[in-house]
């Protein structure tokens, strides 16, 4: 089962040509943000920073779902895990993320029934298999993940499954970009826009942000040639002073995106405010259950209301997610905070920029 279209996008000779073209631009200092955590990982995995001109700075953005999950939401998941009545189902990355006083992993070690799933449908199957228990699914993620969770709830509704609910901490990408551009101190010369999210949203979703802030914006895939091409396009726009919204990932991303997936998402969720870790509340940047599906809202169904708590002292996750700091600027990085003993979520998630720096760059 050799995979097609993987090796082709890792070709060393083609990469050298792209790298040369980027150098040939002889560009002045620019700061580009790769919005998505998968881009961050790929940039480190292939050593892309080291082959770029010194004038190009790459900054990690707020596109790692675990990293931007508010501490309050983590505490909420942990609260459910503490109850004997619940099986808490989660994507693996969330397990180690510290809440204000515990983590799902610690609760699991203490006997809580916390299970890793690869999809919300697996969580629904657990609910069907365990009718005597309540099953909570920790619903985190961006536009990429939300449609499958919506599809799961459509099935749960249709099959009338009584013991399944979610706590939604879903986030939307374009409003976060707008919020970033309004944040004092944030200086960016271009966005490398996420590939997977854009498969769902389409290029059009970024048009209003792009037009309002007139910032170079290029959608890119995750292979090294995709990323180099995206950087070349951003640098060229910047050099020519012609900001545009371009798509360097046309093999997967269309202007409209995945219309069917968006329809499913909108059947179950509606736009609402969301709290981003380290950034705070961003209006209209989340997806909450709509009226018809409110019965799947675990917090209202079981009357759980967790108070907001202070994020750990010294942790710079928020500033890192906004491109204001790099992990190396954080006092805790690689000292008090390591993958074995993470303080902030950016060190936990496989897509977190602190984890990427630690793994590939020390």
């Amino acid at each position: 089962m050799a995979l097609k279209y993987v090796a082709e996008y890792r070709d060393g000779d083609l990469a050298k040509k792209l790298i040369q073209s980027i150098h040939d631009l002889k560009i002045g200092k620019i700061r580009l943000m790769e919005v998505c955590g998968t881009h961050t990982m790929s940039i480190f995995r292939y050593g892309i920073k080291g082959v770029l001109p010194k004038n190009i700075t790459l900054l990690s953005g707020p596109g790692c779902p675990v990293c931007v999950t508010a501490q309050k939401d983590i505490d909420t998941y942990i609260e459910f895990a503490k109850s004997d009545k619940f099986i808490v189902t989660t994507f693996g990355d969330l397990l180690k993320v510290p809440g204000s006083s515990s983590s799902l992993q610690k609760e699991k070690a203490d006997g809580a029934d916390v299970r890793i799933v690869y999809s919300a449908f697996d969580a629904l199957a657990i609910a069907t298999d365990n009718p005597e228990k309540q099953v909570l699914f920790c619903a985190i993620g961006f536009e990429t993940t939300i449609p499958t969770i919506a599809a799961t709830l459509l099935v749960a509704e249709k099959q009338n499954i009584p013991n399944f609910s979610i706590h939604s901490s879903h986030k939307l990408t374009p409003p976060a970009l707008a919020a970033l551009m309004q944040t004092k101190g944030v200086e960016l010369d271009g966005f490398l826009l996420p590939g997977h999210v854009s498969v769902i949203t389409g290029t059009d979703a970024y048009r209003s942000v792009h037009e309002e802030y007139n910032i170079p914006s290029v959608i890119a895939g995750f292979e090294p040639l995709d990323i180099l091409k995206g950087i070349l396009m951003l640098a060229t726009q910047s050099k020519m002073k012609r900001p545009a919204l371009e798509n360097a990932y046309p093999r997967a991303v269309s202007d409209q995106g995945n219309v069917k997936a968006k329809e499913i998402m909108n059947q179950v969720f509606e736009i609402g405010n969301a709290t981003w870790r380290g950034i705070g509340e961003i209006p209209d940047s989340g997806m909450v259950l709509n009226k018809k599906f409110e019965k799947f809202n675990a917090c209202s169904r079981f009357d759980i209301d967790i108070q907001d708590t202070k994020e750990p002292k010294g942790c710079a996750c928020g500033e890192i997610l906004m491109g204001l700091k790099t992990p190396e600027d954080c006092k805790l990085y690689a000292k008090a905070c390591t993958p074995m003993n993470p303080v902030g979520p950016c060190m936990v998630s496989s897509e977190g920029s602190c984890a990427a720096y630690y793994k590939y760059n020390r």
């Binding site: 089962m1 050799a2 995979l3 993987v6 890792r10 070709d11 060393g12 990469a15 050298k16 790298i19 480190f44 995995r45 292939y46 050593g47 892309i48 920073k49 080291g50 082959v51 090294p224 040639l225 180099l228 993958p339 074995m340 496989s350 630690y358 793994k359 590939y360 760059n361 020390r362």
Partner: protein
């Protein structure tokens, strides 16, 4: 008729135990030392002049116990044969300890023991002592096997992870990640099919050929759990050197690379059971590579990197696009019960 199953009595030391020994085990592991059935094996080494022996032990809990290309039995024999061989020694004797879960099919047990006997024969070692325990259902998972091995170390051999030297070329004896991906894809809950099979194989003849050739070799390791990436890190730290490898030189079967891509694994950290890494002085590396390539299990061998003089203890990789990155030790959850 219901199939015969292992009973608690089979591990009692009584009549049924003895009949299992005489009917199943002895005919398979056929050798005069074991046939003495004493409490321990008495090994005659009067014709060996060496002053050093190598001794290693390992326990196998792989799940599932049968997988494409082998089973827990040959894994247990080859694994310990290779651990002894990686000391530069010539393995001669093995012990086998079986922990069997009550209710295991006798036919499955026979199959595993037959595979062990065949693997021992192929590696040229004798299983000279052993033990069988049966535990109640649910207290073990089908079968766990411990093997220990003794080998003879030729005089003047000094291969250890602490002996990597600046300038050394690093050879890998073939494609990486085959075993780990085989186990992973044969687990039922993944529902994947592929033609990948384990690389489990004895490497002692390969090692003997290298040793006999007189070429200068500094380190031998088999990159099992933790994979190539972790093993290279161990060597860099032990020897206090820096290692640089090239991503485009590392052989990975395309099917294995595809599975890794789908599952989000880096083949550098996936277990191997029939591969060795050799650090050889630059003048001798090509000759050693040729010797490895002549072995049945070394056809895809190649040079993947070298040792640099910096004392960083780190491993770097030149990536496919010409960038550089650190290859760290494996952190976080590893695939459980891979061997």
């Amino acid at each position: 008729m219901a199939e015969n199953k292992v009973l608690l009595d089979h591990g009692s030391g009584g009549k049924i135990s003895h009949s299992m020994m005489s009917d199943i085990i002895l005919p398979l592991f056929n050798n005069p030392v074991l046939a003495m059935l004493d409490d321990g094996a008495v090994l005659d080494i009067s014709d060996i002049s060496s002053k050093k022996i190598a001794f290693s032990t390992d326990t196998y809990v792989v799940d599932p116990i049968f997988f494409p290309g082998g089973n827990i039995g040959d894994l247990a024999v080859n694994g310990t044969v290779n651990d002894v061989a990686m000391c530069g020694a010539n393995p001669l004797f093995l012990s086998v300890g079986l922990i069997i879960e009550e209710g295991m099919l006798i036919s499955d047990l026979k199959k595993i023991l037959k595979t062990m006997a065949d693997a021992a024969k192929k590696a040229g070692v004798n299983i000279v002592t052993g033990d069988t325990k049966v535990v109640p259902k649910g207290k073990a998972d089908k079968i766990f096997i411990n093997t220990s091995g003794i080998g003879i170390l030729p005089d003047n051999v000094n291969v250890t992870g602490a002996n990597a030297q600046p300038g050394d070329k690093i050879i890998i004896s073939g494609t990486i990640a085959d075993h780990g991906i085989t186990i992973l894809s044969s687990r039922e809950d993944l529902k994947m099919t592929s033609d990948i099979k384990t690389d489990s194989a004895p490497l002692n003849y390969m090692v003997k050929a290298i040793m006999d050739s007189g070429n200068e070799i500094h380190v031998l390791r088999d990159p099992t759990r933790g994979g190539l990436g972790t093993t290279l890190n161990e060597i860099a730290a032990q020897s206090n050197v820096e290692i640089k490898i090239k991503e485009n030189a590392i052989p990975v079967k395309s099917a294995v690379a595809g599975m890794c891509e789908l599952l989000g694994f880096d083949p550098l950290y996936i277990a191997n059971e029939g591969k060795l890494i050799a650090f050889a002085s630059p003048d001798h590396a090509e000759k050693i590579l040729e010797i490895i390539k002549k072995d049945e299990f070394g056809k895809d061998a190649c040079i993947i990197g070298e040792v640099l003089p910096e004392k960083s203890g780190k491993v770097y990789m030149e990536t496919l696009i010409g960038g550089t990155r650190i290859v760290d030790m494996l952190t976080g959850e590893q695939l459980p019960r891979i061997c």
